[in-house]
Symmetry: D2
Subunit: 342 residues, 4 copies
């Protein structure tokens, strides 16, 4: 396995396409009404559109049609992880790149409402990725403070992937032009990377890689304007009788500096409300290293995350529409228990 140093020493790639940012996720849910209650009723997200089987949502700042799709399905799973590219031509160039990497690509036959061309693939680890440029524009509701509900959720921020082969995944995303802002690694000889925060937009990340059984989606994160919004969301969720949806936090991350809380939706999909990270847009912005043995890296205040946070994640759907089989990781990033497991 390449060490953390080797991964970070690889030359920065400037690929011939431009992925702007993480831009969406599609979650399969068993009970769409329960999901609507959670995302719209409790979290206060905006409904962009709805069909019999699906709900299209966005945050209050967002100007594109939707960033989250909830679709009724027979099994709770993540069906799509979406990214926006700078221009239509980037889709074609990206398709070439992916094909060159030996991946199968396709164009969505029936794109969702608001969407133009959508390029789809399954990456080498089984994650169902999709890329688009064109999407219907909407008016921002950022300053409709009189209508805001919940934190409020302003916009999709990032996707976190539970991945059994983190080093390989790191290289895959680096080849797509993602840079690393922070990482966690084991100590001593042959440092193994156990977590990596990778970005296109100049925030801490668009994609995080968390070492663990996968391919699974660890969580989908939404941006909240300030720490007070994160705690307000918790107060509201608890007041409505759903305190069991609060899995971890609120707290301060060491990695990313974010003030956060993790929630679990009615199907167990994990949502992070995320605020307070920092600017990473300078070209020579150097990755910050955290030791997996530093109790502050995951929770700056030293609070241990519950085991569920390390163990549970959403399955992802494979090309056949069935959940992808998962494999275990040989390294784990549980705080203060960094032993290589296999």
């Amino acid at each position: 396995m390449p060490t953390a140093d080797q991964l970070l020493a690889a030359p920065v790639v400037d690929p011939p396409f431009d992925i702007v940012r993480a831009a969406g996720a599609e979650l399969r849910v068993l009970d769409l009404a329960a999901s609507e209650h959670f995302y719209v009723g409790l979290l206060g997200m905006l409904v962009a559109d709805r069909t019999t089987d699906a709900l299209y949502l966005r945050g209050w700042e967002e100007r594109l049609h939707h960033s989250l799709i909830l679709r009724r399905g027979p099994v709770a799973a993540a069906a799509r992880l979406g990214f926006r590219v700078r221009a239509e031509e980037d889709l074609d160039r990206l398709a070439s790149h992916l094909t060159g990497e030996g991946l199968h690509t396709s164009w969505a036959q029936e794109p969702d409402p608001g969407l133009g061309r959508v390029l789809r693939t399954f990456d080498p680890f089984g994650y169902p990725l999709e890329f688009f440029h064109a999407m219907t524009h909407c008016d921002t509701q950022l300053q409709r403070f009189d209508l805001h509900r919940g934190a409020p959720i302003l916009r999709l921020d990032h996707l976190n992937l539970h991945t059994p082969r983190l080093e390989e995944a790191f290289a895959f995303w680096a080849a797509l032009g993602f840079r690393c802002s922070e990482y966690i690694s084991t100590d001593g000889e042959g440092e193994r990377m156990t977590g990596a925060w990778l970005l296109r937009k100049p925030s801490v990340h668009d994609v995080a890689l968390t070492a663990g059984r996968g391919p699974r989606l660890h969580h989908t994160a939404f941006w909240v304007g300030e720490p007070g919004g994160v705690t307000r969301a918790c107060d509201q969720i608890a007041a409505a009788g759903h305190s069991d949806a609060i899995e971890r936090g609120p707290g301060r991350h060491g990695v990313s500096n974010a003030f956060f809380v993790y929630l679990r939706d009615p199907d167990g999909h994990r949502i992070e409300l995320y605020s307070c990270d920092y600017y990473t847009g300078d070209p020579d912005h150097a990755p910050l290293r955290w030791s997996v043995n530093d109790p502050r890296c995951r929770s700056f205040w030293g609070t241990r995350a519950p085991d569920s946070w390390y163990d549970e994640s959403s399955l992802v759907l494979g090309p056949d529409g069935e959940p992808m089989p998962t494999e275990a990781a040989d390294v784990d990033e549980r705080d203060q228990r960094s032993e290589v497991l296999a």
Copy 2:
């Protein structure tokens, strides 16, 4: 006129009745629907009850039936300033005291919904005061974060009176058992008090006296849990298209330390959203003096209040139901302009 020192040197009175706190106000409004939009729609207060002519409101923390009455009337004015006493017997003892002071008292013939006996008087300056003990109890909504709207407004905090004869008013309230937490006075020989903060509950005040034309009600203040609630209220009011309702602030008071904003309702009645004052319950809590020439006493950050804040106030209704005539004050507390006017 007694100087500030003389007023404060008077022995503390321990009267044979116990006024617990400022507990309500009745405002006469021209357009009840417009008022409902302001207090309920924009500020998010709870509706306790309503009749054809009146709306009964309270804050989210409050356990008594109402703290604010809006009643349709031919002229915008303050009709009642309410205080709660510790026990029913206190009403009788207070009635005796007021009669002894030469005031006319009466018992409300048709108390408002939720109220027991109500003792009414007009104080020597013309303010329409009322006192009660019994009021219907309600469940607090303090932790219904999922339902909260606005700042949210938690409870009535205090009443501020524009008074032309501040020294006399100070003595009147002192005889009712009110202590002074802070005051503003002119500098030099024969210091004139131009503002006084008087309390029964151990906060900075239940009644404030502001030197100026009166009798008029300068403002009714509601408690907000934290500064972020004050600014949230402003964001919501402005987003709803009513930024002209924001008269002064948000800001930090020097006096009281409060983080505040002043609003004007559709009839021009002034409302303060007020947070962050401090504990004053110790028996020897000494009054803090501010010089009227200290730019930080009214606005700790030095911001000048608009002239409207000094000049405009709500008329009060007299015994005949007509607005009381007002008289000018011979001293003014405008910052840095402390000259005795007459």
Copy 3:
């Protein structure tokens, strides 16, 4: 045992003395320099005075000389729990009352700096109580925002006692004039009270009783102006390398509505930073009941407290200066595990 209902149905006592509020604590510490680093360096409290063996501290709002004494000793323990009375004469009347209850009282021979007469006793459960009226006044530093450090800590708010005989302790404090704002009790026949919040000043409490092994001091709580101060304190403590001092939270209490965090000082003494409770000063303010099986009562967001929070507390010093022996409680208020233990 009296049930919760029976305890609350007892007539409210209006004793012939007036205890104003909880006003101080003296903690014995093994390493005074380590304690100074924690309370002054990390928490930013003000140093009122120091001797070779003791440090006298107060919060930024406080106008009395000190509210916390740290004194070097051979064993970490709580040596005194202090309360202020309204007048000197209250001390004498209180002494009579305590004697009448069969307790031994004494007057401190060498009062600490800043203090006048100090009445001392050990209550029937072994808690070392003291009462005073006179203490040197100091200027408040509430508005020295330029000097504030830490949360900042504004003032002492309450003391929480771990007590094996909660019902008896409830009656003892009720006889001292303390009212109940909230309580936790078991469900079903013969409800046992497992927690009680008792007040003199009109906040949620001056003294809390927590069912458990005792007599022990569960924690000393300080008031912080807003939730942001509580999280800022955590950020600062963690940044300084002491995240292990953060035991529980930050979070929202169901009981009291407080936004809180619990810290452990170098000797294990527990400190709460506490904000956002509410007004309780009305004479008929009714106690709120929580079921011990309601996961929101201790942590509104449903977060479980660590076992240490239930199990560990500071011993108290007895008349001989040695730690008082403790006895177990037959009821416990651990959330969702309310079984009567013995």
Copy 4:
């Protein structure tokens, strides 16, 4: 003059160099000790370096050596407005571009501490611009919450230019690759743009153009993590006796959504503390239009800015080291007073 629509309809330029962001300013000050007191003592900025004549400062998040230079000089003025480019080669390409625009360029002979090559020019309006890529890296202090002082100031965010020929300036910056996020314009036929917010990094702006007498630097803005930091800074400044340094706010901008305050340093240079803007990195992010007659565009809460905010700005130094002469603008963006002046 081109109308606002015409300016925005121009094709987006993708120049052969990449300016990353606004990255610094050099202010000339009369009394360096007074400036140090303001920026370091009151605002809590970090001192990166100092010489006899200059002070090099940065914010707590920043990883480059400095973002603000204060240099003693005979006249208070802005000497340099700095921008970072992506790579060394961008400097050469940019030099070619500027030469092609008819501008004189030069390379700094004695770059300041920490800096590599610095390309300098005076733009067609007289602003002293400089561009660099290489600067010494430093450790971020973002999470040294225990050491933070002031808001704290995290990083330089943008520069605001008072410009008499806004339309021409808009075209100049557009040719450098700056996009527009928001603008203010007059109403009716031939809309004149009176304010423009232009960006390279995906925030609301790196450079703002404000119609008015110029060339002058209206203000230098620093990023603060949350609104509470902005008000904390005001509290600290006022507590230290410098409330006169607070010129406008705190408040909410309509444009940019920022929660802000404007300060004046001892030489009158204007500093903005700025938080809460939003993501603008999508390629088709459309500019938001505000009418100059909308009272919410400058102050969402409707508060009028003081005249000083419109009238006063820092002179800029010309090629001879003397302040550049200024010319008046023929349009003004004062709220509700949008008449074309000349």
